[in-house]
Symmetry: C2
Subunit: 297 residues, 2 copies
């Protein structure tokens, strides 16, 4: 069954942006969007790796380089009317939320439908990778609760043909920067091992749908010149507060896993001891690199 | 004095990416990089809006679409050797840290120098906007402490001529997404008003250089379809934990400014009352929008 396919995040090899497909069967066979009917390919656990925008929901908005997308459920396919509330725990919707929180890229395919400036004239066209920026719940135009997502193009957009937000242009031009958020399988493993509890303070942060929000923090930073490994021995499950503090020189973690305020950040105090569960070996050389080459005392 | 010029973040009107300048005077007169000698134009309070990469520091690394840049100070301009430690509180270095924390874009100009694959053959060339992704302290090749910055191109790069990180290619391709971080003058005003203390829990997060880390959180989200205003009446100073919780449906803020756990996120409990200082009027209509159209109970 196509919709049971394993998730694969990113471009499908051999299927460049702009490729046309005559129908959903061809789109599924190419691996771009496995299910034949559903608009979202995803589950709460794995995330969603692909969506189709084809005018199936009255509340969808397509702006080219960003899309306001309506979740799955409660929709009568014959009339396109909402006939029931949508839920954030519906598996496809939960998949898009997982992709947002884990920073996973989502393939976006547009299907022909009237009234869209961005849809292909017929069939389906793979239009590249989008990031899920936010999710929320609103009342749709038919009076039922709908789950909505804002997705923004991150790869494959054509600058000549995509729109941006005119009203936000000034704000975007003067204040927008881009921050890379990496959340690999290793990072998700570590977050799962601690059930989203911060390894420094133990806090769990409840968010929509009863989920817990946490972040995978690399001890030795990724990328040049540090080239820390994206491996669980170099990753901690932290709350955003301690992640920001770790990344910006506010913390020292000693070889015995004692966590202290960094003396150059203000008062010196012991915050606690890093919680480490069985199956999670921290590479002490990475902690040493952090102390010696990132924020030395 | 050129280096006392007001900061202006973003492209300079009339100076497109790729513009050449014969010397620093012409570069300064164009407004692209006001100081005639310093490599960084910035202060701790305002941030840094521009840098010049011209081979002045032995530890600089230019990789095209990202740069590992050495901070100011401790350098003998005649020999290009470090002769003293650098400091994160040196105003230009502090300016780049402010730009990182506030998400401000930095203009990058390359000057001709031997051994660089990306520098112009002569004079100076404006090469577009970069984001400061991180800062850290290391021991430079001459044995003194240096402050380093990783900057990544966010606008104006030529995909055909810029490099990316070969060793990270797989990680980047499969797991990287882009998150927009906006931090306007209004947002910085609000953060300053509370001295970085979270309006929900009061926590202050100390980081390098004795700074306090906080985030400006929009109540009614920016961008379509919400189009919340980027105005202080719509902005809260929050710790990253409460910011993540607010943005993802974990909190309700009532009209009397009581902050509660969102019933759909788990246990119902009163967390506290929003701290509001004189001079900061919260627009209650934005709180109502959040309750009614983003994460209704």
């Amino acid at each position: 069954m196509g919709h049971m396919a394993r998730k694969f995040f990113g471009h499908i090899p051999g299927q460049p942006v702009g490729t046309f497909y005559p129908n959903r069967r061809a789109l599924a066979d190419a691996g771009v969007h496995p299910p034949l009917m559903q608009g979202i390919h995803g589950t709460a656990k794995d995330g969603a790796d692909s969506i189709v925008v084809s005018g199936g929901y009255a509340d969808d908005e397509d702006h080219g380089d960003f899309v306001v997308y309506t979740g799955a459920g409660g929709n009568d396919p014959s009339t396109k009317r909402q006939i029931a509330d949508q839920s954030m725990s519906q598996p496809n919707n939960a998949g898009l939320i997982t992709s947002q929180l884990a920073g996973l890229p989502v393939r976006l395919t547009r299907g022909a439908h009237p009234g869209s400036a961005y849809a292909p004239p017929r069939g389906f066209r793979y239009d590249g990778l989008f990031a899920v920026m936010s999710h929320w719940v609103d009342t749709g135009r038919h009076g039922f609760k709908i789950v909505r997502f804002r997705l923004e193009q991150i790869d494959g957009g054509d600058p000549a043909t995509t729109a941006s937000e005119p009203s936000d242009a000034q704000t975007y031009a003067t204040t927008t920067v881009v921050r890379r958020v990496r959340d690999s399988a290793q990072s998700r493993f570590v977050k799962g091992l601690y059930a989203g509890a911060c390894q420094i303070c133990g806090v769990q942060i409840p968010i929509s749908g009863g989920r817990l929000y946490s972040e995978g923090a690399h001890i030795r930073p990724l990328g040049r010149p540090h080239v820390g490994p994206d491996h669980k021995s170099n990753i901690l499950c932290l709350c955003p507060n301690h992640h920001a503090q770790l990344d910006n020189g506010g913390l020292v973690i000693d070889a015995d896993l004692t966590v202290r305020s960094h003396p150059k950040a203000g008062a010196t105090e012991v915050i606690g001891k890093l919680t480490v569960r069985p199956g999670h070996r921290i590479d002490l050389a990475n902690l040493e690199y952090l102390r010696e080459h990132v924020f030395p005392e």
